[in-house]
């Protein structure tokens, strides 16, 4: 059996050389990719221990990416729900979501490793746009794999990626959504690993990705914890909530709170892609985690209103946090999400991404119940802005009018 995981000094710590979060994680990839994953782990460990790397990364995230993003107190929404709602505004980061944090980090790392080409998978298109943006910034070649279904429902993002100089390859295999885009990106990576870095967009995949992407997203939680303490006279929010598909924005914000506070952590999955709330452990895309699958182990197709959450799995660290009881996972259905999308727009003048609207939907549903009692304080990670979803929501709402 593989070595015991390195004892982590913290709940969200270093998963050690085998990439284990409790029993989850690992590196379940074909031999062809094992050396590339090992090389990436070595490079990341070296970069992450190098103050010069952090200085450059922080500088770019500040001057180019717009960090730190603010925390906004929602007066009208709070009044309507009877709980105090704060939003961590990742929607205000460059490219319109938290995805930029990870891609700037991975692109700098790729450059440090001498790679000249980035490939990425994308669901809603946010990670694809972010990767295309970083490729333009650093003068790298970029190919983005996107399920054919998603290229249709996120047409505008396809055009954005093309404007940024990336090539978008529609994937017509399988369910033609995010899971199939990951399969194809992995296949392409096998064939071009010498010059290509696979810029994976979430806290999933083989070691070191789940850990590395969480570390690149940790900035969300670190910033938010200090910002909340400034707003809340030194105390922490009672609850921190984020949507979770692969789970990168949730991992990023949780990382600032899991060890340092006693805030309750809540991850909200799409009801149609609820790996933790409706799945069981298995192995997909290089990781051991929770998956929706049938009795034989065939992966089931996720289905939700938001392309970014249409994924049958979730990052392995979330499976571990759920097992530990340090985070709790729930789901929101499409109807609740559409309501929440409109609620935030109407009460706060903020149109959230459909993905982020899952977190708002949970707050709206839970407010006043035991999970979120009246008068408590909740921090929502508003992971992205909703411009990309406006046309889809218009069609949905008109269709029922």
């Amino acid at each position: 059996m593989t070595a015991e995981p390195t004892p982590a000094s913290s709940i969200m710590g270093d998963p050690g050389p085998t990439g284990r979060f409790g029993g989850f994680g690992g590196r379940f990839v074909p031999e062809s990719l094992v050396p590339a994953c090992m090389e990436l782990e070595v490079a990341f460990r070296s970069a992450w221990a190098d103050p010069a790397f952090h200085t450059e990364l922080d500088g770019i995230l500040h001057h180019y990416g717009g960090r730190p993003t603010p925390v906004t107190e929602c007066a009208r929404l709070s009044e309507e729900l009877g709980v105090r709602v704060l939003l961590k505004r990742e929607d205000l980061a460059h490219t319109g979501s938290h995805k930029i944090n990870n891609v700037i980090g991975q692109s700098l790392l790729a450059r440090r490793m001498g790679k000249t080409r980035l490939i990425a998978e994308t669901g809603a298109g946010q990670h694809g746009v972010a990767t295309a943006t970083a490729a333009a910034l650093f003068g790298m070649e970029c190919v983005v794999y996107m399920g054919e279904v998603d290229t249709r429902r996120q047409e505008l993002n396809v055009f954005r990626m093309e404007l940024l100089g990336a090539e978008v390859r529609p994937i017509s295999s399988g369910s033609r959504t995010l899971k199939d885009a990951v399969n194809e990106a992995l296949r392409e990576w096998v064939a071009s690993v010498g010059v290509t870095h696979y810029c994976l967009g979430s806290v999933m995949g083989p070691h070191p990705y789940p850990w590395m992407v969480r570390e690149f997203q940790r900035v969300i939680g670190e910033e938010a914890r200090d910002q909340c303490r400034a707003i809340l006279d030194g105390s922490d929010p009672d609850v921190v909530v984020a949507c979770a598909g692969g789970g990168s924005n949730a991992a990023g914000i949780f990382a600032g709170f899991a060890d340092a506070t006693s805030s309750r952590l809540v991850g909200v999955e799409a009801a149609g892609g609820a790996a933790l709330t409706g799945g069981i452990p298995g192995i997909l895309h290089g990781m051991h985690s929770a998956l929706i699958q049938d009795e034989a182990g065939q992966i089931l197709e996720a289905s939700s209103i938001s392309a970014g959450l249409d994924y049958p799995g979730i990052g392995p660290e979330h499976a571990h946090l759920a097992e530990l009881g340090r985070a709790h996972y729930v789901s929101a259905d499409d109807e609740e999400v559409l309501e929440a999308f409109q609620l935030l727009a109407r009460t706060e003048g903020i149109i959230p991404a459909l993905e982020s609207a899952h977190a708002i939907a949970w707050v709206a549903a839970a407010a006043g119940r035991s999970e979120l009692v009246r008068g408590s304080t909740v921090l929502v990670n508003l992971s992205g802005r909703g411009d990309k979803d406006v046309a889809q929501v218009r069609d949905l709402l008109r269709g029922r009018a």
Binding site: T2, R27, V29, V34, N183, L186, S192, I283, G286, L291
Partner: protein, 270 residues
């Protein structure tokens, strides 16, 4: 037979290794066709036809919904099989009803094994007459739990060496491999290629100098000429997509047999 190489590999050879060693030591090149289990309603007839046309062992794929190391041809065959309602248990039950006279090696992805339970599916394989298993998404560091269950059931876990595998790692992979060592011919997914990649000869050479186990090259070996070429260095070849494509196009068991015969004739002529 004499247990050649048992000291080197530290284990007693099972049916797969013994059969392939005997063929190799008798001067034959090894021919291992791949067939996706359940891809059509004639697949068991095809299996017998392959055995009858010169295969030394046959790889049978247990189709998975997300075959990440497979290219378009085997993806399509897997999809057809799944649409027919094919399950791992169903394929193993089918295999238990036939005896084609050559070793059967299953190829599948780890989630199907994990879901079924290591010991349970290793036992089912053994009862079905399966003598080996190739699980490409279980690299050396992750293989132990499965490989130990497989060893106990007498199922040989065949490991892969890739063109990207560092020299220092090759020996460790060969030591843990059972049955034979699968040398991955090119950096890429399964699929037909017009020319044999230089990496196929290179990796076959590295592996052959690291182990006494039979060494078969697969991924990117599509024609009799390519098979002969790579067997200048390797003990044998695995041929998958070139065969499966013919079956997808409707060549049927006879067409499959004709193709495998052409490979056999070419390899025997050297």
């Amino acid at each position: 037979m004499t247990v050649v190489g048992a000291e080197a590999t530290g284990h007693l050879p099972g049916v797969l290794e013994a059969t392939l060693r005997a063929r190799r030591d008798a001067g034959h090149k090894l021919l291992v066709p791949y067939l996706t289990g359940g891809m059509d309603d004639q697949w068991l007839v095809t299996l017998e036809a392959l055995a009858g046309s010169g295969a030394d062992a046959i790889e049978v794929g247990l189709p998975f919904s997300d075959p990440m190391i497979d290219g378009a041809t085997i993806q399509e065959a897997s999809l057809r099989a799944l649409q027919r309602g094919t399950t791992p248990d169903g394929i193993l039950a089918d295999l238990s009803r036939v005896d084609v006279g050559v070793p059967i090696v299953v190829m599948t992805y780890y989630n199907l094994i994990y879901r079924a339970g290591h010991a349970r599916i290793a036992g089912l394989m053994s009862e079905s007459g399966v003598s080996g298993a190739i699980v490409p998404d279980l690299p050396l560091e992750e293989v132990d739990q499965w490989a130990e269950a497989a060893d106990r059931a007498g199922v040989a876990t065949v490991l892969l060496v890739a063109p990207s595998t560092p020299q220092a790692r090759i020996g460790a992979i060969c030591d843990r491999s059972r049955g034979f060592v699968y040398a991955v011919g090119r950096m890429g997914v399964t699929g037909e290629q017009e020319v044999l990649a230089d990496s196929a000869r290179l990796v076959a050479g590295w592996v052959s100098s690291s182990t006494d186990l039979p060494v078969c090259v697969g991924i990117g070996v599509s024609t009799p000429e390519q098979a002969v070429e790579v067997c200048g260095v390797a003990d044998g070849v695995v041929v998958g997509s070139a065969l499966v494509r013919r079956l997808l196009e409707g060549d049927g068991p006879e067409g499959a047999a004709a193709f495998i015969s052409s490979l056999r004739v070419a390899l025997d002529a050297g």
